[in-house]
């Protein structure tokens, strides 16, 4: 069995907006064993 997540996440705002940015990044690698509740990805609050 498999679970697939599809989601919108904060994106880095490039040169178009000069202000501070927030950006989503996965913190996993392919083949990693992951447990429920562990972080898949993070972003920084602008």
């Amino acid at each position: 069995s498999t679970v697939v997540l599809v989601f919108q996440a904060p994106i880095s705002e490039s040169s178009a907006h000069q202000g501070s940015s927030s950006e989503f990044r996965f913190c996993i690698k392919r083949g990693d064993r992951i447990r429920m509740g562990e972080a898949l990805g993070r972003w920084k609050d602008s």
Binding site: F7, A16, I28, R30, G31, M36, R42
Partner: protein
């Protein structure tokens, strides 16, 4: 054991008869012989599986990329009544076991599929069947939910197969190298996947930020229903910032699904389909595996926009139990010959708000058969 006892009972009678003593002795060896052969065969299959897993793991650490390669076994699987097999497997594993036998069966299962019995919430004797044991809850506090408010957590225990950002026409997700499927075919042609038509793509690149901001500022629900999906999903492309992650659950893993973030589930979509195996080999040999198998898709919205979760069944784990909709039945007997029925949808009440879930809430479970 019944056959063995019968054999033992038959033996003295045969000795009394005198004439066919040697043939009954042959029969009494036949049953233990067959049992030993079966155990040896299962052992050999398990050893081979472990060897294959090890090879795959080694290859992956070396950075080897597996390519799609259909084989005869995959074609043969299409001919098998896998749904019936799955349902039969479910009824077999749902049979109540004698209390004395339970720990032995579950320990054997745990040894074969690397489950951690220490994590089970209840003593092994309290799981009446293998099916109950399979969907066991874990002891309190064993899966702490990441407290960082700026993170998305894993909904399951499993192995990360793929992840990344959806880009380009069709929003394709790679199954393995050389075989991809579109996100909209996984989630449904009517999905609210935030896509823009190809013609608008260039325009969107110029004012991308505006489009994204607009989309999140307006009510997503209103946008989705006000503009029916007439777009061409093949040539349309996803809005920037659309990500995906594919997690595979091995038979020994904890099989309950939790919420990855705080979100509201607005809609459920149930696709009937095949129940092919979902292991690593199957992903390399069965084309469109993820969009052909039976699955339940939940769609909704979280603080950053769109969110969808697809729970995909397999032969051994064919049914998906949804705690937010206990009446949903999956892995039903196939009524029609055609597999490509449109999905059955349900919009959750109240419309526009749906079912609110907190990060870590239990949503669903994969059941045996």
């Amino acid at each position: 054991t019944t056959l063995l006892r019968k054999g033992q009972r038959a033996q003295p009678r045969a000795s009394a008869a005198g004439s066919n003593g040697s043939s009954s002795q042959g029969n009494s060896f036949l049953v233990p012989g067959a049992t030993v052969a079966t155990i040896l065969m299962l052992g050999a299959l398990h050893a081979r599986r472990l060897y294959d897993d090890k090879k795959i793991e080694e290859a992956r650490t070396k950075g080897v990329e597996f390519e799609f390669h259909p084989d005869v076994k995959a074609r043969f699987l299409r001919l098998l009544p896998l749904r019936s097999i799955s349902r039969f497997w479910g009824s077999m594993t749902g049979m109540e076991l004698p209390v004395w036998l339970r720990p032995h069966v579950y320990k054997a299962w745990a040894r074969a599929f690397h489950s951690n019995l220490e994590e089970a919430q209840l003593p092994l004797e309290e799981y009446a069947s293998l099916r109950d044991f399979f969907v066991r809850r874990l002891k309190e506090g064993l899966r702490p939910i990441e407290s960082d408010s700026c993170c998305l957590v894993s909904p399951v225990d499993g192995t990360v197969m793929r992840f990344g950002e959806l880009r380009g026409p069709g929003a394709m997700i790679e199954q393995v190298k050389g075989c991809s499927y579109s996100a909209s075919s996984l989630l449904g042609a009517n999905s609210f996947l935030p896509m823009i038509a190809a013609g608008e793509a260039n325009e969107e690149r110029g004012g991308e930020e505006n489009t994204v901001t607009d989309a999140t500022q307006k009510s997503w629900w209103r946008i989705s229903f006000a503009s029916p999906k007439v777009r061409d999903t093949e040539s349309s492309r996803p809005l920037k910032g659309l990500f995906y992650c594919v997690i595979y659950l091995k038979p020994g893993d904890y099989h309950r699904i939790h919420s990855p973030v705080d979100w509201s589930v607005l809609l459920r979509r149930h696709f009937t389909g095949h129940l092919f195996p979902m292991n690593e080999r199957a992903t390399r040999t069965i084309r469109n595996l993820y969009v052909e198998n039976e699955r339940v898709v939940l769609e909704g919205q979280w603080q950053e926009g769109y969110m969808a979760m697809a729970a995909i069944g397999a032969t051994n784990i064919g049914s998906i139990e949804l705690f937010i909709e206990p009446t949903l039945r999956t892995n039903n007997p196939q009524k029609k010959l055609l597999q490509s029925e449109p999905p059955e949808e349900r919009v959750y009440e109240p419309e526009g708000t749906g079912v609110l879930l907190k990060k870590g809430d239990e949503i669903a479970a994969f059941n045996m058969g």
